[in-house]
Symmetry: C2
Subunit: 146 residues, 2 copies
């Protein structure tokens, strides 16, 4: 069951400049950064608010570290902007399976590692009215990678 | 001060079909529908979660009622997908003024009426790293248009 908007993933050309834009313009601060080699991105998480399922909603700023990464190719085609949206769930495996059973293509056979030790999968945007959609289960607090 | 992700605005070609996709796939239900003649859209709000500022986060599904509306033109160029993101604030006037003072173009001289009697303004996507960004102050509960 999807219980929150976990994050909005925003593709950018220069992570440092984009982080600075969000800080200077709105006061949003970076709470976490990491490089995800598998996804081919360098990213910064900016926490915006807490949610009533005990989680949080973030902006996730993404800069490709390789031109041939999914985000790199997307940026080359679309320019900077919203790349995907992510819904939080306590059980990404069950929700991915349920969604697959409804005929929506799930891009990974098994969930992979996302930000801060989370487990994530993606749904095909063509099956979701044009929206690249991520499902994410946060790591337990003790296991989060800071 | 921006205190929540208020909504993600998603442009679609057929509101009823898109509402049905979000209901059947994820169980998200429509909590509000309206036609905004000024914006040239028919829209449905799907509440996803509550937020720790006392508000909520929604998906806002938008179908243009005119081809020459901003959403209609955007859809013709981009196809279905995420059209904008919106941050909630208790004082859209003050935040719009503050952002304007930082050199970000604010699209309206004064906030206009958004979903459920809210007051909204938009920031130019070219000043926001490609993201059309809305600032929104919800109406007091008694004044919400249901």
């Amino acid at each position: 069951m999807l219980t929150r908007i976990d994050h909005i993933g925003i593709a950018c050309l220069d992570l440092d400049r984009t982080v600075e834009f969000y800080r200077a313009t709105y006061g949003f601060e970076v709470c976490h950064t990491e490089v995800n080699e598998e996804q081919g991105v360098r990213e910064a998480m900016l926490r915006v608010n807490g949610t009533d399922d005990g989680g949080s909603s973030y902006l996730q700023l993404l800069e490709p570290i390789r031109q041939d990464s999914p985000v790199g190719k997307w940026l080359a085609k679309n320019g900077e902007g919203v790349h995907h949206i992510a819904f939080g769930t306590a059980d990404v495996d069950a929700d991915a399976e349920a969604v697959r059973g409804k005929g929506v293509r799930v891009l990974y056979d098994e969930p992979r590692t996302g930000s801060m030790g989370s487990r994530i999968t993606f749904l095909h945007p063509k099956d979701c009215h044009g929206v690249l959609t991520e499902l994410v289960t946060s790591a337990p607090p003790a296991e989060r990678e800071h």
